[in-house]
Symmetry: C2
Subunit: 311 residues, 2 copies
């Protein structure tokens, strides 16, 4: 299959290598010029268990892509999604399958402005990866993907897509309610990413706070109220348990969430597609979400104090 | 007049010196043993414009005070107010005048549990001072006091109190609505103290945030709703203008508010008597104050992360 990874950062690069190793023709598409150039000149370097592997791969900036694809996997950050889709408009006119696995709520709505709904598959993944430098990722452990076509009975290629992903060892399985899965992951991220960034702490330190349950409930109770008004299934209690399960150091306790890494490296955060999305949707649906609105403002304040341009 | 300063930190010490210089018999009462001992042994050192003055003064821990007083000025921090009043129960039985100028809302309610309402005068002051070390304060500028008896027609000594304060150069004048003045100052502090502590920034940096007005409105609109339900005058717009007037470096821009100093020195903050008071009162009066409730939790989280014991 001809596959584009649009947004070939840590996760996209890891997926790209696995899909290429399984015999697909893969192009990594990214806007970070140093990263693209490093891959073009030296290949992608993958560090695992202290051991480096170098894999030659095709990489390009969005505007330099001329190939057409059977499948475009979108790992673009939520706030860059719109621009990436505009840059790939020539490719989108060929009606490729679109698989979106990027974090945050609202990606599908952005994509639907450019792609017919029946071509879109959405999913969540628990694979992980770190971008260590231009052309260099560091990976640990394994993961899985849960995915669902937005219009299941109009997506005949779903089995072929699953087979392609599973032949690459990506452990893909069908999801019954992918929107619920996206909200569940966004709920977790809207607690752990946001508070760990605000407090400059890791996940274990957040879990050790005497008031972590109050902080968590303030966010997730609003998620549940807004989800309910939007006819999305969301269970604040189940999400709280999922969060609590991350605190152990041998799970994710030692981890600083991706938003913390973004802030530390002076990159815009995804806050507008986590707490900020729920605040906006709550406003549109007349369901107050003041906690998520304030947390969104607080993270934007921290971005401003660090001189980070607004996303 | 025999005057006790209960809570003889930065502000209390400055007031004590001025009142003693005017001929009153002043005792500084404080729970910080090193501070009391330093004053007992070496007097109080006052640095002004780089010049040191040493003033011999009487200082004691609350439990060691045997004198009775005509006037007790309470500068105790809000969360230590209750304990201070218990420690001074022998003095309170002599029915001294009580003047409370400490920051935070709710102090009068605490005092009324120990002192008849008709003996209490409440006020606000814009004098400032820093506690530079045990027995050592640093002062700049001048200030004023606005004060009002809680039961004006049952407080015949009000003019005498004003005269005592003004003879000491403290620029005291009667307030028409001291509760409104306390809320006005608490509103300012619940914005500047809280956000500057949360963001680890000074007042000018807060004022330079693109979203400072949104952050301010989130706090003060709830202040106004809760104040209205509690029949206290509060004007969010006027408080916002007062806050904006602090941003210039030659006003208060370079200043790190007292809560920021408390956090930096690992002391419990006064958050429960600023945003936290409004959150609790809002709950009691069925007026939602989720922003102030969340900010209270966030500051308590920061205290916990710094190993500061709960107040």
């Amino acid at each position: 299959m001809k596959i584009a990874i649009a947004g070939a950062g840590a996760m996209g690069s890891r997926f790209g290598v696995k899909l290429q190793n399984a015999g697909n023709e893969v192009t990594l598409i990214d806007n970070w010029a140093d990263h693209v150039q490093a891959i073009q000149q030296n290949g992608l370097t993958i560090t695992q268990n202290g051991h480096d592997t170098v894999v030659p791969m095709t990489a390009a900036a969005p505007q330099d892509v001329t190939t057409h694809f059977d499948l475009i996997i979108l790992f673009t950050k939520a706030m860059q999604m719109d621009q990436m889709l505009q840059d790939l408009s020539a490719q989108l006119r060929q009606h490729p399958m679109i698989l979106v696995l990027a974090n945050g709520i609202g990606n599908v709505e952005t994509i639907e402005r450019y792609v017919p709904q029946e071509n879109i598959v959405a999913g969540t993944t628990v694979w992980s990866s770190s971008l260590t430098g231009p052309g260099h990722i560091t990976i640990t452990g394994t993961g899985s993907i849960a995915l669902q076509a937005m219009v299941p009975d109009q997506f005949p290629d779903f089995k072929r897509l699953l087979t392609t992903l599973n032949d690459a060892g990506l452990h893909a399985s069908p999801a019954d309610d992918v929107l619920a899965a996206i909200w569940k992951k966004a709920g977790l991220n809207s607690v752990l990413n946001t508070y760990c960034t605000l407090f400059d702490c890791n996940i274990a330190q957040f879990g050790a706070l005497p008031n972590w349950r109050a902080l968590t409930a303030a966010v997730l109770n609003e998620f549940q109220a807004v989800a309910s008004a939007a006819n999305v299934h969301f269970d604040a209690q189940a999400d709280t348990e999922l969060i609590a399960a991350q605190f152990a150091p041998d799970v994710n306790g030692d981890h600083y969430p991706s938003m913390h890494q973004d802030m530390a490296h002076r990159r815009p955060t995804e806050i507008d597609f986590l707490n900020g999305y729920v605040a906006r949707l709550g406003q549109a649906l007349h369901v107050p979400a003041p906690t998520n609105a304030l947390l969104t403002q607080l993270i934007h304040s921290q971005e401003a104090l660090r001189g980070i341009p607004t996303a």
